[in-house]
């Protein structure tokens, strides 16, 4: 019996031990009327048959050369990362409730928290949230609580990923929070100062600052942070963690001690694309907000002999202790992804993170130059960017992308999907994984596709 070790003798002895004639008796408390008929599921297959089925399906899912970013990024993941992260002792452990039997996971999480705090220049970090978008939702709820201004507005720039904004809406809808979107400057692709100034003195609870924003554009984070601080608002930084090898970390934004909360998606740190997940959300904060943080936190402590050990701590924030008053309902998080990220960051080190970020930036710059050399292709915004950039095509982007896909290129994200009036907009990304030949191949293919007469 698949995965069930009981021999006929075992079953007999166990039933006798319990004192029931057959296994069905054990279910006698379930009212007969509720018992379901045999379910209509596909028949059980052998591991061999399932393997063949899944291999066939996976083989069909070839990606081609991928220039899509838009919240998920193709990076080289050193082979050691998943070779170690998928060891059974990491993979098949539960949340480390019994500290003494979970020192592996716990010490690792302490290191993970340290690395994320270091990247973001914050004082503390949690042990992960589900993903970037839901993490932003948690950060917004945390900011609202921490602001001491629960009726205040939460300002979110429209230059935040459309899906992230959708998730924030879902997560705040039933909370009577006022979430307001701030438009971006159609020239620079950044948050307009003017747009912000409308809210001056209007009880702003929090401002979300994406860096880079969804268009890859770099926001003027210092100015925005200072503006928010002046309004007494909590600053929630939404960042790509890999970019922090190159970009100023949230903890240092502005002139008044930086952002209060930093969050984002950890996918660029060693997590495969996997059609969208599992990834992980990270959340770091400054010391004063510590007890408002959602999610698990690991702390260092000692045993009676003074030996160092690690343990889940500050649990009074959490649902299993505080129930309806918890800082979040989160329980299971994305543990294994933090294992991979910790290994990934350890292999890269400070230099590796910096050079990878710089290389991604340079590759995208080169790609931008090659693509805008095609007649009719221009930049959509003129601000500085990190490793994504928005282009304007001479025609709607979506059908062009379909054609590119057939030619083996996943060409980017059609901005029209998230911004209906930007339907000729194309968001492209080139990470360190792309060679110059790849960039040329993209440029040549795009030129060809744009040139083909419609028929």
């Amino acid at each position: 019996m698949p995965f069930i070790p009981h021999t006929p003798t075992d079953i007999e002895q166990m039933l006798t031990g319990i004192g029931v004639p057959e296994m069905e008796t054990l279910f006698e408390e379930i009212p007969q009327a509720l018992r379901s008929p045999t379910l209509d599921l596909p028949p059980a297959l052998s591991e061999m048959a399932v393997s063949r089925l899944m291999r066939e399906r996976a083989d069909g899912d070839a990606n081609g050369l991928c220039f899509i970013g838009a919240g998920a990024y193709e990076h080289h993941i050193p082979a050691a990362v998943w070779e170690i992260a998928s060891r059974g002792e990491f993979l098949t452990a539960y949340t480390p409730y019994q500290a003494e039997a979970s020192q592996g996971t716990l010490r690792l999480l302490y290191e993970f928290q340290t690395m994320m705090a270091a990247l973001t220049a914050m004082d503390a970090g949690n042990a992960s949230l589900y993903d970037g978008a839901s993490g932003l939702g948690e950060a917004v709820l945390m900011a609202a609580r921490a602001s001491g201004n629960p009726e205040g507005k939460i300002l979110i720039p429209a230059s935040v990923h459309p899906h992230y904004r959708s998730v924030v809406r879902t997560m705040t809808r039933d909370q009577d929070l006022e979430v307001v979107e701030i438009p971006f400057d159609p020239v620079t692709g950044r948050v307009q100062s003017k747009a912000l100034n409308r809210f001056q003195g209007q009880k702003v609870a929090a401002l979300v600052i994406p860096q880079p924003n969804f268009f890859g554009i770099l926001e003027e984070v210092d100015t925005l942070t200072d503006w928010a601080k002046a309004e007494g608002a909590i600053v929630v930084a939404l960042v790509n963690p890999l970019s922090l090898g190159l970009l100023k970390p949230p903890g240092e934004w502005g002139t008044h001690g930086g952002a209060d909360i930093a969050c984002g998606d950890g996918q660029p740190l060693g997590i495969p694309l996997s059609s969208g997940g599992p990834y992980f959300g990270f959340l770091c904060c400054k010391q004063p907000l510590l007890r408002q943080m959602p999610g698990r936190i690991v702390g260092r402590t000692e045993d009676p002999q003074g030996r160092t050990g690690y343990i889940l701590t500050l649990q009074a924030r959490e649902q299993h202790i505080r129930r309806a008053k918890a800082t979040s309902n989160i329980c299971t998080n994305q543990g294994l992804m933090t294992v991979a990220a910790s290994i990934h960051l350890s292999l890269l080190g400070p230099e590796g993170v910096a050079n990878t970020a710089a290389t991604c930036h340079a590759k995208t710059r080169t790609l931008m130059e090659k693509l805008t050399a095609i007649p009719g292709v221009t930049r959509l915004f003129n601000g500085p960017f990190f490793h994504e950039t928005a282009l304007k095509l001479p025609k709607p982007a979506a059908p062009v992308l379909t054609q590119l896909a057939r030619l083996g290129i996943q060409g980017g994200y059609p901005l029209g999907e998230g911004y209906p009036n930007l339907d000729k907009g194309l968001l492209v990304c080139a990470t360190e994984t792309k060679t110059d030949a790849d960039l040329d191949f993209y440029a040549d293919t795009l030129a060809w596709v744009l040139n083909v007469k419609e028929g």
Binding site: S274, G276, E351
Partner: protein
């Protein structure tokens, strides 16, 4: 070995082969937006990384190495084939926004999973998006609110939960802007029906229930409860954490529930990863279907009449509560659940709940015979059951925590302790169907041995664990109070100086 990797870090040590060459030109980014000081990340060799994390892994208890009867968590065997097949390059390397053509394989799997979960739940429609049980609960309760709101019935702001409910239930209700009201449990572990009847009213948004309950017994009068709640205009939410007990035998939909989440990292054997990722797909009845979180896979036909799978968007499901994740949830985890179900089929699913229940009842019987007190001796155990160590606590001054810590030294992970809080000094024990009778027997021996120690040498229990049988774990019982009083949450360079 208690050092962190930061202690092993040395300036100038690096893994040349992973680091792109530094660029000749500085990046085309304004100075004031750039980082000045490099982040404090470890500077170590690849061997150091591999050795450090390999040794860390060895400090863990895990299903692959120990019996792990953690109640409510279903720590059963996670088939390696699910792990390996879900990690095929075609699946791992696909970008979430890649063309729909390039995703027919993964979407076909997800669609099959939707169908299978709908069948298992006895429900109409499924969204796979929620990334854990708690997010599934959020989706469910948000849908219930959306339903009431759509009917102009938005005054329903109270969520009922049994007093023994899991913490995520009330926490979720609160995240959905609801007030929580707890319903007491009777002496047999069932919800007090009179109290329930008194609690419902026009303010009732719904009831959240785990069945079998967190007390390890099947809520027999669920039919009546559903009638009471529905009659009052509320909806019923099924917390699927305990589905391993009844999967394939009784369906939440047939019990009268309107929404359910699955913990695939419990029932469907996806590994727990030391804390995740899991997945918490939701299934709902007809009336909640319009509110499902996005995206959902739909199946149509292409121009040649072949199946065509694609994501539903807001246009398809305009009343959806919206998105819960950046893309479509923990797809890699869902693939594992899909593979598991394809491996076992409906017969296998019935066997799962059958043998999970057999193991729990056998273990309960043996512990009763050994003189332990179980919380509900007159009830059948489901896939788990509760031992109360109150008698031992009173007689020998030892606690459930003491037992738990001492069990670690016997090479067993401890059961869940102090949950549900209703039962004093409780151990919630869930052996799962994948463990052998021999292992259960050994666990009983250990429990007996520990109780004998409690009688003769209780101090031995208070100070446990002394030496967890894991190499170099080398820690005794850790001080949780100290940890919380002065939180030390990140490594600091000063430690090393």
């Amino acid at each position: 070995m208690t050092d962190t990797l930061f202690d092993a870090s040395r300036p100038g040590r690096r893994n040349g082969h992973h680091i792109p060459e530094p660029l000749a030109a500085p990046p085309d980014i304004p100075e004031h937006l750039r980082r000045a000081v490099p982040p404090l990340l470890p500077q170590v060799s690849e061997l150091q990384v591999v050795r450090h994390f390999t040794r860390l892994s060895q400090l863990n208890f895990s299903v692959d190495t120990q019996f792990y009867p953690l109640g409510s968590c279903t720590m059963k065997y996670n088939p390696r084939s699910c792990q390996v097949l879900a990690s095929l390059p075609g699946f791992l390397n696909r970008h979430p926004l890649a063309s729909t053509e390039s995703g027919q394989g993964v979407m076909r799997c997800l669609h099959e999973l939707q169908e299978m979960l709908g069948e298992i739940a006895g429900m109409r429609a499924v969204s796979l998006v929620p990334m854990a049980g708690a997010q599934g609960e959020f989706a469910g309760v948000a849908m219930i609110r959306a339903y009431h709101r759509a009917r102009g019935d938005d005054a329903r702001r109270v969520m009922l939960v049994p007093d023994a409910s899991h913490g995520t239930n009330p926490a979720t209700a609160a995240m959905c802007g609801l007030t929580v009201q707890e319903i007491p449990t009777d002496s047999q572990g069932d919800v007090n029906l009179d109290a329930l009847a008194r609690a419902v009213g026009p303010q009732t948004a719904g009831l959240m229930l785990t069945n079998p309950s967190t007390l390890g017994v099947f809520e027999r009068r669920i039919g009546r409860m559903a009638e009471i709640v529905h009659a009052a205009g509320g909806l019923l939410y099924y917390d699927g954490a305990n589905l391993n007990a009844v999967a394939g035998r009784v369906r939440p939909g047939d019990m009268g529930f309107d929404a359910v989440h699955f913990n695939v990292h419990k029932t469907f054997a996806t590994p727990h990863g030391g804390g995740g990722p899991g997945a918490g797909p939701v299934a709902v009845s007809e009336r909640l279907a319009p509110y499902l979180p996005l995206p959902v896979v739909k199946k149509t036909s292409d121009d040649k009449g072949r199946d065509w799978f694609s994501w539903m968007s807001e246009a398809d499901l305009p009343e959806s509560i919206g998105r819960l994740s950046t893309f479509a949830g923990n797809i890699g985890v869902l693939l594992r659940a899909h593979i598991y179900l394809r491996l076992i089929g409906s017969e296998g699913l019935e066997r799962v709940s059958g043998f999970a229940t057999l193991n729990a009842n056998y273990l309960m019987t043996r512990l009763i015979e050994a003189g332990f007190t179980v919380a509900f001796p007159d009830r059948r155990a489901t896939h788990e059951f509760i031992v109360s160590l109150k008698p031992e606590a009173e007689a020998f001054g030892v606690s459930a925590l003491d037992f738990a810590k001492r069990l670690l030294e016997f090479g067993f992970h401890a059961p869940t302790i102090y949950f549900p809080a209703l039962v004093p000094e409780c151990l919630l024990i869930e052996p799962t169907e994948t463990e052998t009778k021999e292992t259960l027997d050994q666990f009983v021996e250990a429990m007996i041995a520990i109780r004998r120690e409690a009688e003769t040498n209780p101090q031995r229990l208070h100070t446990a664990p002394h030496a967890v049988p894991v190499p170099g774990a080398g820690v005794g019982r850790l001080d949780a109070t100290r940890a919380a009083r002065k939180p030390d949450l990140i490594w600091k360079e000063s430690f090393n100086r």
